[in-house]
């Protein structure tokens, strides 16, 4: 899901460029189904609440009910997206939200237009038109999004680095080889370091055989760049080897011992 086709690319005037992952049709469809359930629940609740009034004043009660039906279908999406950072309850549950396609603040007219055009997106059944539009457009936009200049993105689920225990509390014997650590830092490209870190973060998502194969490959690659002494590596699994390497790459550099003289860092 990280291909360029499924990201909203934002280029800041400051020269920095980054990508926000777009929400796919499936998550959007399920979010919409949840919203339909909520709207149905709201209208049913209103129907029950006004049943007493309809018994006394059937004309006014029925009129109110009809207006409430339309208002609930139209205003639920409009108000929640406008006042709740582009989210409805369904979108919030699925971790997605609406945003302006240029990365700007979502405007009221955008929210209204995208919700009104939904009726065409749902045509003829099960959102066929909207789904086709999403598949055919670069930013996964249904017709309502195209008309309003909006996209639906996945909410950031960033947790920061704090929750990640890279070495699992084990002593990292590699750290005593300052020269080798320095060589490692110099030789490994940032992209490769990020891949290794990502592999550790996602290790529980892999099947066992895939995890072993992945860490074997990474460990072999790191060994080909810098060879730590055999007595330090022979008892280590490939995964622990990679964890040690990642700790060296991402953790702060320890004070330089007098016996080693390589400059290992330069604060950017």
């Amino acid at each position: 899901m990280n291909g360029p086709r499924l990201n909203l690319q934002i280029q800041l005037s400051e020269g920095v460029r980054f990508a926000i992952p777009l929400a796919g049709p499936v998550s959007r469809y399920f979010a919409f189904l949840i919203d339909i359930c909520i709207i149905s629940a709201l209208t049913t609740a209103f129907q029950i609440l006004t049943s007493f009034m309809r018994a006394l004043q059937q004309d006014i009660g029925t009129g109110l009910l009809l207006v409430f039906y339309l208002a609930a279908w139209l205003l639920y999406g409009i108000l929640s997206e406008y006042f709740w950072f582009g989210q409805t309850f369904g979108k919030w549950l699925l971790g997605i939200r609406v945003m302006d396609s240029a990365g700007l603040r979502l405007q009221l007219h955008q929210v209204v237009v995208r919700n009104l055009v939904r009726v065409v997106d749902l045509f003829p059944l099960f959102g066929l038109v909207g789904g086709t539009s999403m598949i055919c457009t670069r930013r996964l936009q249904r017709l309502g999004d195209l008309a309003a200049g909006t996209v639906v993105v996945r909410r950031s689920l960033s947790t920061g680095m704090s929750g990640l225990d890279i070495t699992r509390g084990r002593y990292n014997s590699f750290l005593q080889y300052h020269l080798l650590c320095a060589q490692l830092r110099q030789k490994i490209a940032p992209e490769i370091a990020a891949v290794a870190l990502d592999a550790i973060r996602r290790r529980d998502l892999f099947e066992d055989y895939a995890r072993v194969a992945l860490f074997n490959e990474l460990a072999a690659f790191f060994q080909s760049l810098v060879a730590f002494p055999a007595e330090e590596t022979e008892q280590l699994s490939s995964e622990q080897y990679v964890r040690n390497i990642v700790e060296i790459l991402f953790s702060p550099v320890a004070p330089r011992p007098k016996t080693h003289d390589l400059p290992t860092r330069a604060l950017a």
Partner: protein, 335 residues
Amino acid sequence: MILDLERFLARERPKWDELDTALRRYETDRFYRPSFEESTRFFDLYQHCTAALGRLQEIAQPELSQYLEDLVARAYAQIHSVHGRSRFRPFDWLTQTLPQVFRRQWRAFVAAGLLLLFGCSTGVVLLSIDPAAKSVLMPFPHLLNDPNARVKQEEKDKGKRLNGHQVAFSAYLMTHNISVAFLSMAAGMTFGVGTILMIFANGVDLGAVCADYIQAGQGTFLAGWLLPHGVFEIPALLIASQAGLLLAGALIGWHSRVPRIDRLRLIAGDVFTLSMCAALMLVWAGIVESFISQYHAPVLPYSFKIGFGFVELALLIWFFARAGSKPRGSTSRLL
């Protein structure tokens, strides 16, 4: 990997937190107006975080980059969104923005009107050629009867049929017509095909009904029945279709060098204004149809109903032609 992450974080994190706090304030209150010092500080923090993001991207720190990207994107949205800081003022919107938008996009309204006239003419011609086609052309079952018989029945009935149901009937008319109007607008996204078909079909219905009643010599009844609510209902449909044709025009973009996405973005505000205008007009039309149009002579004289319709029409024409033509103080956009 030449970055001491821990020191970098210790130095930068307070600024990120400060920016996050400021952003929450802006996001919670959409109309929050910061002081000059607050604005300057906010911009400094944004630039600082952008620089930090650039540095983190260089060393491929996915977790932190993601966090900062989110923060910078939110700040970017606040800084670069020049519209939408003003509170929405319904009175200004109604008396200034709405008529101005209508006049600015008059061509689409004329096109919708011509399409409706074409549909009406087609309805008249079809009914004249084949009177038996009435069952196909009439929009509602009660219009299938002989117009003379219906007029007699309605005048004899004295509006009792609707007594005690006016509010529900009015609500039904409003919700139904508003749904149709919004559909007509939204159908503009089918390159205008849906909108054109809807205007034409409504025109055929209207033309057939008018031809049927006029041929039966019930022109006065027809005017008294349709004018009070029709002078709002039909223009409302045309205005919704005007919005639909605007969408279609932006989607197609004849001879335009502006990218499609920007063309749509440019007219989205006008589409919103016109759609809301149509909805408001249909609320009024629903009330009038239920409480005035359906009551015929002798309850409400035809002259009163026709006169009422013409007064409404005159006010409507004045409103769209003249209202909001003089700027009132602030020139900032309302939306």
